[in-house]
Every structure is written in C-alpha cells, then in structure tokens.
Amino acid sequence: MKGLMTLYRRELALAWSGGGGPLLACGFFLCLTALIPLAAGGDPAGLRPIAGGIAWLALALSSILSLERLFERDLEDGALDLITLGPVPLELVVLVKAKAQWLAVGVPLALTAPVAAITLGLPPSLAPLVLLSALIGSLGFALTGALGAALALGSKRGGLLIAVVVLPLFIPPVVFGAGALERAVNGLDPMPALAFLGAWVLFAAVITPFAGAAAVRNAQG
C-alpha cells in the first residue's frame, strides 16, 4: 500500500506538470470547440443537432495529447526498469498511471466539457449530464489511452502510433457519450447510453492492466 501511494504521488506530480499537463489539454479542447462553429459558417442552429457528438469528439482528441509521456519517458530515462523492480506488480503500476492521468488531465477536461458543449449549442440545462458523462468517459479514455501508450512503447514516432492505436478504441465511448446527450436533447432517458458507457469503462479497467503490463514487459526486453 505504501508503495502504491509512493508511485501514485509521483505519477500525479508528473501528469500535472509533464507534457503540458491539464492546461494544454483543456486549452486544446476549448480551441477545437471554438473553431468548429467558425468552420461551419457561424450558424449555431445548424450545429445544435450534432453538438453532443462534436463535444465528445473534441474530448477524445484532447485526451490523446499527453499520453506519450505516460510510459515513453520512463523507458527512455531508465525509470521503467526501477519501477519494474518495485514492490507493486506491473499490472497495478499501469492502473495507477492511468488513474493519475485521469485525475490530472481527464477530470479537468470533464470540468471544461459543459462550457464547450454550451458553446456548441447544447442547452445549459444539460450541463450536469455533460459533466457526468464526460467524467465517466474521460476515465475510459485514460484507461484505453494507457493501453495504447504501452503498446506503442519503444517504437519510433510513438506519439503518432498511440493516436492510431487509441482512436479506434475511443469509438464506443464517443458513440455512447454522444448518444446520451442526443437522447437528453430529444427528451428521452439518457441512462441506457450512460450504462453502456459505464460498462465500456469497466471493460477497459479489466483489460488495460494485463494487456498494458504485457506490452511494457515486451518493450523492456
């Protein structure tokens, strides 16, 4: 337990300060959602039907930004060797890294999401739903993002590879998250879509530690 906390504090500090931290991700998120209405010709009414989908797409893209530093820096500077010879199994290390990534980047992005969604034309009354769905979804993005970062470990142009590996894995949460908002806009119950989103996050929480740890071991060899 002491080892876990030692690692968690370190990962949180690195996620908060490294790779631009939450400011870069939130800034990118807001810029993207501000640019889309301009690119669409400045007609907010035209965007309104797809505002939830656009907000979720922007959230997914913003979640990728700082994934490269998750394992790659530790591999380059030798810290991954030290971490591997520590008191915590590598599977838990992967989970701790994903959780720190969520707290440092995912949660600030989720807090920004209502602002972005309202900018895109969603009714302000849906802000709590946007926040809730973005909190759940960003946890899923952090988990699958950690898996993608582990799979791309040691490859040249790892950042690009992470995006290629991770984006297909982001399709289900984008569909479920945007679906929840769309149902709410149309006066339907968003819970079924949120339940699917939650199920996908649980699936990622089970798969990521084992697949991620295997990928890290493979990169070390």
Binding site: E76, G78, L85, R217
Partner: protein
C-alpha cells in the same frame, strides 16, 4: 544468492552467450567483463528479469524470482532513472522509498553521498557525476542484498569512486552481493567473469 544455469540469450539472429552458468554467493563481488557488445548489459537485464532467456534458468536462494525482483535486487543501469524536470529531493524520495527505504536510510544516504547541497536543485542542473551519486543513493538508503550495476562508475571522479568503493565493501560485509559490468577494475576485491569477445 543468485545462480544462473545454462543461460542462452540471443538478440535477433546473434547468440550473445550460450550455456552460461555461474553463481554469486553472499558477500561476493563479481566484475563482469567483456568487449563492447559482448552482452554484459544483456546478461544483467536477464538476471533482473527484463529479458527472458532463450534457454536456462535464473534462481535466487530460498526465494521466488518474482519476490526477489520486487524486494531483493537493486538495479543501476546506464540510465539513472531520474526525471530531469523534478528536484533532486523529489527524485531521491521516490527512488529510495520505492526501493523500500525508511527515513533513517534516506538520511544516511544523503549524508554519505554529500547530497544535501543538491537536493533543492532540478535534476537537469546536476552534472553527470552528481546525478550518478543521486541515483546511487537508493542503493545506500534501501537495504536490498543483490546489486546489479551497469558501468556504475563511468561519470564519477576518483574521490567518489573510492568513497563508493567503501560503501560497496560495507554492503558486502553485511552479506550482500554485487555483480557489476565494468571496463575498469572495481574498487573492491572482486572475482572476474568474462563473457567473451563480443563478436
């Protein structure tokens, strides 16, 4: 303390060593020698569990390999594992506590390696020798019996080589063991293990 039996490891098409067997007893230091590319680092990484051998086994006395790697091995490779953007104090705290050190151990390492004036500096502002001393601190702070070292003294001056030699001797006197890949002689009495010409 550690026994390698009939180890064979290849990288790509090239076999680095075949049927290599040796053991290291408590209190013993072994200097691992060989030409560049002979496989010294690969052997150390195999013993540490980072590389799976093509054949052969690595065994630890009275302890499972997974447990040994979690609590009994100190690894110091070419890279120090230090984050350049963090302060020396933060990195020392993490590395030492992750390795199992307590407050007394950390204080002893800081005093023994004269790290106090460096602790509030960012790691990027330290010289290569200072970084190596900072990385060495976890070995002094946390009691782990087997030290696997890869070119541990390369950036250090003569004074610190001698000082670390005394710390290594103290570790051996406590029943610890050391396997170090080196090009120059170790500053403690050590058995040589040559793994070939590295063709």
């Amino acid at each position: 303390m550690i026994t390698a039996t009939a180890l064979t490891v290849s990288r790509g098409e090239r076999v680095l060593f075949r049927d290599l067997s040796f053991g290291i007893a408590p209190g013993e230091a072994v200097a691992l020698t060989g030409a560049n590319g002979a496989g010294k680092t690969t052997l150390l990484r195999t013993l540490a569990g980072f590389i799976r051998p093509d054949a052969g086994t690595v065994a630890f006395a009275d302890i499972e390999p997974a447990e040994a790697r979690a609590r009994h091995i100190h690894w110091l490779g070419h890279m120090d594992g230090l984050k350049t953007g963090r302060r020396a104090r933060e990195e020392l705290e993490f590395q030492a506590r992750w390795s199992g050190a307590n407050n007394e151990g950390i204080a002893a390492a800081i005093a023994g390696l004269a790290l106090e004036p460096l602790l509030d500096l960012e790691v990027r502002k330290l010289s290569a020798g200072q970084r190596r001393r900072l990385a060495f601190a976890r070995l002094i702070a946390a009691p782990r019996p087997l030290w696997l070292l890869d070119e541990p003294f390369a950036p250090l001056d003569a004074r610190w080589r001698a000082a670390l030699g005394l710390m290594m001797q103290a570790h051996l006197d406590r029943g610890g063991a050391i396997l170090a890949a080196v090009h120059d002689p170790l500053p403690v009495a050590a058995r040589a293990l040559d793994i070939g010409a590295g063709r």
